[in-house]
């Protein structure tokens, strides 16, 4: 790539004329090849009106969304559970608490790609096991660790006086939590959870490493086998898809946040 950028115009023309550059161009039938860096926008237009390529991208997008949504649900459930166990007290919660602590430490302390590999090539190394489930579990479990920390932090950030006032009135632990602490914690937790979901969606792009066909992989396949500059078009379109999802999610989170904040002042 860098070499390409440093080329003079003549060299570049020669470079383009090389036979090797013209091979393996199946992915780009019908595309303007001459001077394509000038025609970037034109090529984008060609790509998004091309049914075959758009179909490939949308298929990848579908997979990305499938993994993200289910992993997010799993992560939220797991995170809430782990946070609750972490904050519970009493002699019966010692062992579950220790397990949760190890879980959070290990997940947060190791790379996501490695967790995905272990899931795919060690735990679910079963022929024919659906890769979607492997990925959902890997990302859900990863996300759960971060979500649990956010929730824990959100609950701890509620003034202890609120809990004490509830308990002093004779309310039980659970009621105090449900009616007083959690409603106040949610406001503090929503932004962090939102960030986690955004990170999760983007992080799912590494599923291509276990041979899955998500949005990023689709863009790569479309661009593959071509001269280097061709990657930029499908990759840019894929990037726009990611951006759109993240933008939409950000918007929804902001809406939820303002609504929650509006309810405590009048």
């Amino acid at each position: 790539m860098a070499q390409f950028l440093l080329m003079s115009k003549e060299n570049y023309k020669k470079f383009q004329a090389r036979p090797s550059c013209r091979t393996g161009n199946e992915g780009w039938d019908g595309f303007e090849r001459e001077g394509h860096n000038m025609d970037f926008f034109k090529n984008i237009g060609v790509l998004i009106t091309n049914e075959k390529y758009m179909g490939m991208l949308l298929e990848g997008l579908g997979k990305t969304l499938l993994i993200s949504v289910f992993a997010a649900v799993l992560g939220l459930l797991l995170g809430t559970l782990v946070a609750m166990v972490g904050l519970s007290e009493g002699k019966f919660s010692k062992i579950p608490k220790a397990i949760c602590k190890v879980y959070v430490t290990v997940i947060r302390g190791t790379p996501m790609a490695l967790q995905l590999f272990i899931m795919a090539y060690a735990i679910f190394a079963i022929r024919g096991f659906p890769k979607e489930i492997t990925a959902i579990l890997a990302f859900g479990i990863n996300s759960g660790a971060y979500v649990s920390e956010s929730i824990r932090g959100g609950i701890l950030s509620v003034d202890i006086g609120q809990t004490e006032a509830g308990r002093a009135l004779g309310l039980g632990r659970g009621t105090t939590m449900r009616k007083i602490v959690i409603p106040q914690a949610i406001k503090n937790v929503i932004p962090a959870i939102g960030n986690e979901l955004i990170a999760l969606i983007k992080e799912t792009s590494i599923v291509s490493m276990i041979g899955m066909y998500d949005l990023t992989q689709a863009a790569k396949v479309i661009g593959a086998g071509n001269n280097m500059a061709s990657y930029i078009v499908p990759m840019s379109v894929a990037a726009c898809f990611y951006l759109a999802i993240v933008y939409l999610l950000t918007f929804v989170i902001k809406k939820i946040e303002t609504r929650l904040r509006a309810s405590d002042k009048r």
Binding site: E164, A165, G166, R167, L169, G170, K179, I180, Q184
Partner: protein, 297 residues
Amino acid sequence: MISANNIYKDFGKLHVLTGVSCEIRDGEKVAIIGPSGSGKSTFLRCLNLLEEPTSGEIWLGDKLITGVDAYLHPDIIRQSRTYAAMTENGVSDKEAVEKIISDRLLKKREGKNFKSSVKEFEKANRTDINLARREMGMVFQHFNLFNNMTVMQNLTLAPVQLGLKTKAEAEQAALALLRRIGLEDKANVYPATLSGGQKQRIAIVRSLAMNPKVMLFDEPTSALDPEMVGEVLDLIKELADDGMTMVIVTHEMGFAREVADRVIFMSDGVITEEGTPAELFDSPKNPRTQQFLKCVL
């Protein structure tokens, strides 16, 4: 009403309370004064178990709300293996009990008899802390109104959640309480919009909504601007005149003298001196008390 027997409280290595005993009778108004860090708040919070005493017992009426402290019950001590071993070796009953209490010898493993008698005692006398807390209102220095609820919701949450009143009954009672403090118009606002004095008065009536038998106040006016102290103290005085039993930790000496039947002076985790306001303020006997009062009066 409430009796605290030999309360010890440690925070890690810090011994905050070292043997506090005190009895609060029905209708009595007790003020607790003392230097900062002497354990006043900790003691007050032990009374409704917001802090769990390290040892000692709290009784509310004839109900035990802490665990059983075997060292306070010679009858239970006599069931122990340690006691049996001592008397076998010719130690007299009285000496054995005293030695066990003073040396806290029961911390080692004890016999079955002993354990079952502790359990029996507990079964016969102990009550659930959540039930006990319904009878003890508590007012905090920083009000602690529920920020996510309107004033009305603050007042009705506990009675409704605990099934003591229907929503309609609770709201009616809450309105009556708000009327009493002249804040009915604030029923539907959130605490964030209220002044400190208003918050504290609402916190007080929130406790009253549970019809408690005793009220605990932990420096109810310390976080208020001076011009709001009066309204809160007036409300507390009103409660006192109605015959409410109360324990008040306070730095307002004038108020303590006026309202209290008994004043307790605490320092370094023990009750150093107690007596009527006249005795304690006018002729303190203990040098610690004299020194403290010289500084604050």
